[in-house]
Symmetry: D2
Subunit: 268 residues, 4 copies
């Protein structure tokens, strides 16, 4: 499948501050960037902080005044195997060491406090079956509603509120997985068919020998996500981190399936 993704961010920076932009498609198996461009208007100098270990790509810039950032990419996507059912849970002793941090609590995922809930709600289930039960619980107990959470809302907050957006669903899901000794992380992505279109946050659980993607909101197909970044929670995968203050004036994300689009004519 070939997807066309586009993100437009218009921000106003009242002071001269640094910002870190993390919205470019990651270099990862299963998703090939056919073409892409990242443009700033006005044009500004920026430094790359790409991470060869994870394939994540970040840009840092310093700016004062208004700024339009536009990212466009064409990506060939191989649908991912996101099967959870039956995937066995690993003993901690059998986990790769780079997976260990995703067993622990993080800024927005107080997994250490969800142990009794996880035990009570999901009983004897393990591995992928337990992750599926967690996802089912979320879809039946939490309502998708914007405006009920903000940038400091944690998994406990959302678990009690029973309302939230993709970020909040992902935080509860990660909390319940980690409290069940299943490594879980958040993934930022471009999602086809998300309504309303926006940056999306989903989770990945480590069961059956590898990370497996799932969308706790159920709004997008995890098989067709275009990955941007991954981390312990929303703090790690923000698409824009401002080291100071800035104000959004406009923002849009679009994702289109262009698999069937006619090839560009050789000569226009």
């Amino acid at each position: 499948m070939r997807l066309h993704v586009e993100a437009r961010l218009d921000y106003d920076f009242p002071q001269d501050v640094e910002s870190l932009l993390h919205l470019e498609v990651a270099h990862e198996a299963g998703q090939t960037i056919v073409a892409e461009s990242l443009t700033f208007d006005p044009p500004i100098a920026h430094a790359r902080l790409d991470d060869p270990a994870t394939g994540e790509r970040r840009v840092v810039f310093r700016h004062q005044g208004s700024l339009k950032m536009t990212y466009v990419a064409m990506v060939d996507l191989t649908p991912r195997d996101t099967a959870l059912a039956g995937a066995p849970q690993h003993a901690v002793a059998d986990l790769p060491i780079e997976v260990l941090p995703f067993l622990r609590g993080s800024r927005f995922v107080e997994s250490d406090r969800f142990e009794q809930i996880a035990r009570h709600e999901f009983g004897q289930l393990t591995g992928g079956d337990r992750v599926e039960a967690i996802l089912t619980w979320l879809r039946t107990h939490v309502a998708y509603r914007s405006g009920c959470s903000n940038a400091t809302t944690t998994a406990i907050d959302s678990y009690v509120n029973r309302r939230g957006v993709c970020r909040d669903y992902a935080h509860i899901a990660a909390a319940l997985c980690r409290a069940s000794d299943i490594p879980a992380r958040l993934v930022s992505a471009y999602a086809l068919g998300l309504e309303p279109p926006d940056f999306h946050a989903v989770i990945e659980a480590y069961v059956g020998g590898r990370w497996r993607l799932a969308d706790p909101t159920g709004l997008a197909s995890p098989a067709n996500l275009v990955r941007i970044g991954e981390g312990r929670d929303a703090a790690d995968i923000a698409f824009l981190t401002i080291f100071g203050e800035a104000f959004m004036t406009a923002q849009s994300v679009t994702v289109r399936d262009i698999s069937q689009a006619p090839a560009e004519p050789a000569a226009a």
Copy 2:
């Protein structure tokens, strides 16, 4: 300086659960392990989860019943340069990418919420001077007191309580550094002269081109710490993580300076 460190942990595990032990001295520049032993009584099988990238060493085991864990090590220590004054702060663009996560909030360090406090309290100071001002603030505004915090106490909790132990001081310090755009992490260590002796938690701030150790409590000399592990906060550097339930029955830590000890006689 040659230090002799010893940790004894007696725990009771009512069920058969996995545990992760992270109390061995790290393989790092400046500290050479001359001799060491980690013993379990009764003897049990355990798997190593050492991290070559950081030098941290972890052991995972599964056990039911009572268990005595004893770790003894003799370590040659080269005093560290912990000078903070004048060390310049880095632009985000100039940070090594592996340092970036330590700018973000974590389970017990809600640094995103400390921005106004940091701005108000530490004004125009930057880099190592700012870290020093943060340490001074802690020593004049927070009282060392055990029993006022627990395993879920966060930096905000401790900032309001104005009381805590090493872990709480370190969390506030890390929160104020990160809120000032200075990378900061927690370090677990054996500390000479700590009273009462215990595992110690200190911080490291990234200024002037490298990580620099500091003890927010002021109880130990950061120059003479023997490092065990490092991470975003207490969640990452727990000396014992139990994936289930266990009860401590006894625990002790001792650290002695044996630099002047007479050499062992060649033949006893």
Copy 3:
């Protein structure tokens, strides 16, 4: 039924501070104080702050040093009607104005945040039937366990922890009632048969035209409680409030049924 209640509190007051003692049996219909004594050792001056509107009785004193407080009372109790089933819920418009405050959130009862949970868990039930469903939920989802909560633990904390003591059960119950538009308050009491014996905290819900007692822990019979005080939550019904610092050195509560005890001989 005739009950003999006794509370012994030994405290050490390092500084000269005021304290408010609220452990005397309330003057209320259904419980008649046959005899009682409140003694301080050493003897100290104290002022009464009794509340004729509620029948609650409080004593304020100022003291430095160690102090033994002993309260003994013999109380004739008329078993209370605590029936909940079928008791109708009132419209807000039909509530007595003095009941209105118990619809609102309080220090340890963040009822405003439990609305979605209440709606989801207890659906169409109203009034006493809904209160009963809340009590049933608590007894099947929360484990009685001391040492998992402290003086700052709130209803949200306990709802997530799924563990707690009488105070925590009462806070969750009150939160779910208020979030259901059912007035609820906490009541401190002496409870026959409580194991281990201690001051007890239960709730009262306003349904079917009056306050009805219930014990969310299920450990004591609400019909046979001896009431001390009532309030929005634990903050209002503390048996001892110290305006400064003090340390408990010993404390005990005993409640005995002396209905069948032989009369004291006329002449010993």
Copy 4:
């Protein structure tokens, strides 16, 4: 001084729910209601829940659909004595019993957790002088900023955020007073000269034998406030409590000084 106050609230109630309106001027010494009207468009039945003990006036109604509520009052105001300097602090033993609840924590005022801060920041000051120091601290450490807090923001949140609106200032002020053993409550009011005009929240501290009004934001003169209600915190003095869901479509408050307005002609 004669003030003209007007509040217009347009709400949409998607379901048929009860609401409690608490925006009428209280019957209290120092403020005489010369004329007033409360109108609903469309006209609806409503019940009064006035409190003769406090002079507070509330209306309860049930409605579905859109509703315009308009309250207009003309009030003659005797400027209040709000002097704080030198007003002595009372021993708890000397407080009227109805004042005691305002020493305790409440939903948005976790005063029990501010004791060390209060001790550290305001040292040996007592009574009205201490309240003044608290007000000064607020005006120099907290910035008035809307959009940084919401209906669940507590005093601890605001103390850390260092930003907020009148409600948040009042919560911090009340927390610091109560943590200093000075009774404090919140008061809702119409305030002349408030910019932008809105319902206002201020505090009252009990020192020197009576409640004394103060505006922690410094935006309005406490001497010229028209009181609506009082309570432990924002939970008690909400101008509109909806027992279900509703959406504001428009809202405005105006307060004008009409002392110098020409008298109405005897015959128009």
